[in-house]
């Protein structure tokens, strides 16, 4: 299996556009392709692909302690060990659990000297597997989504990736969340290639610097896609690029068709195949195909 991650630091750089387009294009040549939307706090690959309804829902269940009062001696060890404040004990009463705060780390379960903690579950969000077909060629979209108000994104990302791996794809494309936190670094931790999407503005440059810091430390092979090429000044990115390792650089021109495709939920490369941006994406996809083959 080959695994590629598409990431981009801040939101709005066009990360999802690149990921969905590459999945659509590469599925012409690759049979078992899985695209993972690992942006659990605001997944939108399906929106860009024009999918109304996600399918095959499964809950993301985290461990949640439940106190077995027949065994609990009220020693308070679990409360001390819990890092998230999810366990609470008033005086000498039995501990109570705050499901929303619990990260499901299971430390309390292992820490209890009396085996008084049983495993229950807490539903953090859902994963979906939706087939996506264009012109007779299909791939699968795995989407992870947190329930509003839930806070623990990283374990959710982990479960979403696991569900995608269960499908045993030949090629896995991970669209990570926005930002530079560990919910994002988890998305590309195991990728063979990281495609970083940025834009030629000082905002883009700053975030590019942050994300490349991580890819460098993880020793990743990196390709860069400069989106909205033409709005800004490419020299802004050069100082950043001098500091980091990037293997290839691509450009996607600034193109009104992208804005339109996005606003009307029409996949760009299907509905505007001859637009300049589509042609640039096709070029990236061709190069990728070559890279995958060798």
């Amino acid at each position: 299996m080959t695994s590629i991650a598409v990431t981009g630091g801040k939101g709005g750089t066009g990360k999802s556009l690149v990921a969905t387009s590459l999945a659509t294009l590469l599925s012409k040549n690759i049979d078992d392709l899985v695209l993972v939307d690992a942006d659990l706090e605001g997944p939108n690959d399906h929106v860009i692909l024009g999918i109304e309804e996600l399918e095959n829902r499964e809950p993301i269940t985290l461990f949640l302690p439940m106190i077995d009062t027949t065994k609990c001696t009220r020693c308070g060890v679990c409360v001390k060990i819990c890092d998230t404040g999810a366990l609470f004990m008033a005086g000498k009463a039995y501990p109570i659990v705050f499901p929303r705060l619990c990260s499901g780390c299971k430390a309390c379960y292992y820490a209890c000297p009396y085996g008084a903690i049983r495993g229950a579950g807490h539903i953090l969000g859902y994963t979906y597997v939706t087939p996506v077909c264009f012109g007779g060629r299909c791939f699968k979209l795995v989407t992870g989504m947190l329930i509003e108000g839930e806070e623990h994104t990283p374990p959710g990302v982990y479960r979403t990736l696991q569900r995608a791996l269960e499908l045993k794809p030949e090629l896995l494309i991970v669209d990570t969340g926005a930002g530079t936190g560990n919910a994002v670094s988890m998305g590309f931790r195991d990728s063979d290639l990281v495609i970083v999407v940025t834009e030629p503005t000082p905002l883009g440059a700053h975030d590019l610097d942050s994300i490349l810091e991580v890819t460098d430390a993880m020793n990743k092979q990196v390709w860069l896609v400069v989106n909205k090429y033409g709005i800004g000044d490419i020299t802004i990115l050069e100082t950043v690029l001098r500091r980091h390792r990037v293997e290839k650089i691509f450009h996607i021109p600034y193109d009104k068709a992208v804005v339109e495709a996005y606003a009307y939920s029409k996949p760009l490369i299907i509905h505007y195949p001859s637009s300049p941006a589509s042609r640039a994406l096709m070029k990236i996809s061709d190069e990728l195909m070559g890279w995958i083959k060798h």
């Binding site: 890092d83 998230t84 404040g85 609470f88 004990m89 705050f98 705060l101």
Partner: protein, 110 residues
């Protein structure tokens, strides 16, 4: 005797009541007996250093210290639930220092 806690920064009678509950650096705990301040104790709040669940951790401290009343800003929903569970009463006060709040408590007897 009644034991009251106040979220504070450095702690003590002269310190202002901290505007956030769970993230206060310290709690100033005061014992009141026969309408007199008997004892003043300053304890560090584990919630201040916590990455998450600050409010509940703060309430855990108060419960361990045997506090009966906490006076300060409104706690978050989790901390609120924990306070109820521990039988600790919450009186909303803001913009006073600890001493003024104690005086208000003694005067109005809430």
């Amino acid at each position: 005797m009644v034991r009251i806690a106040f979220p504070t920064e450095k702690g003590g009678l002269e310190d202002n009541i901290y505007p956030r509950f769970g993230r206060a650096p310290t709690f100033t705990i005061i014992d009141i007996e026969k309408k007199q301040i008997k004892n003043v104790k300053i304890v560090e709040n584990p919630g201040y250093r916590a990455s998450g669940g600050a409010g509940v951790k703060a309430v855990q401290l108060l419960a361990n210290e045997g506090v009966e009343i906490v006076m300060g800003p409104t706690p978050g929903p989790n901390a609120y639930f924990a306070l109820n569970n521990a039988g600790i009463k919450h009186y909303p006060v803001q913009g006073l220092n600890v001493k003024e709040a104690v005086e208000a408590f003694l005067r109005e007897d809430y």
